[in-house]
């Protein structure tokens, strides 16, 4: 089957029930999305499918159809960071960093549909992304900073 990840088409030979996360990491070598729990309890594997956040451990690749996948690798580039990535750096959000690609993808998805979220809306959108380092206060600060950048664009 063919899938499109970060604007690149790939032909893969896998079982259709294989989780998208497995395909990304083990078949395509795209390792930004992390394996945390495998049951949609942690959010470390979050990617965008047609622009919306989705736990890639939960979507069978055969159910992707023509949908387009974007991972943290396709969100921005070192010389042209996504405004959420920029806010993450400016607020030094990450500690160990393992969950952060999922956090950033979830935050980017939130801001694409709600450019000026309240604290409660940020908490509601981000509560499914766990961080064992407890960087939650900095995550909220960075989401608000990214929202402010978005307002200025």
């Amino acid at each position: 089957m063919e899938i499109t990840v970060n604007d690149t088409s790939y032909t893969i030979d896998v079982e259709p029930e294989m989780p998208l996360l497995w395909v990304l990491r083990d078949e395509l070598g795209i390792t930004g999305p992390k394996y945390g729990c495998g049951i949609a309890q942690c959010g470390a594997c979050t990617v965008h499918v047609n622009g919306y956040a989705l736990r890639s451990c939960q979507l069978a690749v055969g159910d992707l159809g023509d949908s387009k996948v974007k991972t943290i690798e396709g969100l921005g580039a070192p010389d042209s960071l996504h405004f959420v990535q920029q806010a993450w750096i400016e607020n030094q959000v990450a500690q160990c960093g393992y969950c952060q690609s999922g956090q950033i993808m979830q935050a980017a998805s939130l801001l694409s549909t709600n450019p000026n979220p309240s604290d409660d809306q940020i908490d509601a959108a981000m509560s499914g992304n766990l961080c064992r380092c407890g960087t939650y206060p900095r995550i909220r600060t960075a989401v608000k900073a990214a929202a402010k950048k978005l307002q200025e664009v």
């Binding site: 029930e17 049951i39 949609a40 989705l54 055969g62 159809g65 959108a125």
Partner: protein, 219 residues
């Protein structure tokens, strides 16, 4: 496997005999017959018996957990959850009932192909069906409600989506998120009876005049 589907095609055959019979062919060889009893053939007492079984289904955690009424927070309750509690992760379905305001239900409850029958075998994983996961409309408030309250809601077209009982049965037939209640997977307890038995009870209850417990006169 086919690609994501929000709705599936229905093959409907119609025959006229003692009753109207709809046979809806669905994926995975699952078939439900919609065959209402003949008019006048179901007494009020029989209708109330049918309702008592319908209530057992509607109030079961597999159904009621997502029928939370004015609250936009789905519930986690039932034998596999211990003490009832609101859905973890601060999930709020919002006015959209699909979480569009903050995080879509389908972020975790992904949409599966209609021919993938064993998609929900992993314990504790987010269940998935071959349509978009969603909270029931606010009017359809079942969690924690009495048999009388649910009965009145379901028989009133103003609060049941404008349906008569035949249309409720059809809704049960083609809305695949409802089918999940009888095959939830993981270690979740399924809703009682079977989908076919539930449809039969809905139809019998309708022919009996949709009686509710504590009605002063006929339903």
């Amino acid at each position: 496997m086919s690609k994501m589907l929000l709705h599936k095609g229905l093959v409907v055959t119609l025959s006229l005999s003692s009753a109207i019979v709809f046979t809806v062919a669905m994926a995975a060889d699952e078939k439900v017959e919609i065959s209402p009893p003949a008019a006048g053939s179901v007494s009020k007492a029989q209708g109330l018996n049918a309702w008592s079984r319908i209530f057992q289904v509607a109030s079961h955690p597999r159904c009621a957990n997502c029928h939370t009424g004015p609250s936009d927070r789905p519930m986690w309750s039932g034998p596999s959850y211990g003490k009832p509690r609101v859905h973890g992760m601060n999930i709020q379905a919002g006015n959209s009932r699909i979480g569009a305001e903050t995080i879509l239900c389908s972020t975790c409850h992904t949409t599966k192909s209609d021919d993938w029958d064993n998609a929900n075998t992993t314990k504790h994983a987010a269940p998935r069906v071959a349509m978009s996961w969603a909270l029931a409309p606010a009017n359809a408030h079942w969690f924690g409600r009495t048999t009388r309250q649910i009965c009145e809601q379901l028989r009133d077209p103003e609060t049941n989506g404008g349906r008569d009982t035949l249309e409720i049965a059809e809704h049960l037939n083609h809305d695949l998120i409802l089918h999940w209640a009888w095959s939830p997977g993981g270690n979740r307890e399924p809703a009682p009876y079977s989908l076919q038995e539930h449809v039969n009870d809905i139809l019998a209850w309708g022919v009996a005049g949709t009686p509710c417990p504590e009605d002063q006169s006929g339903g």
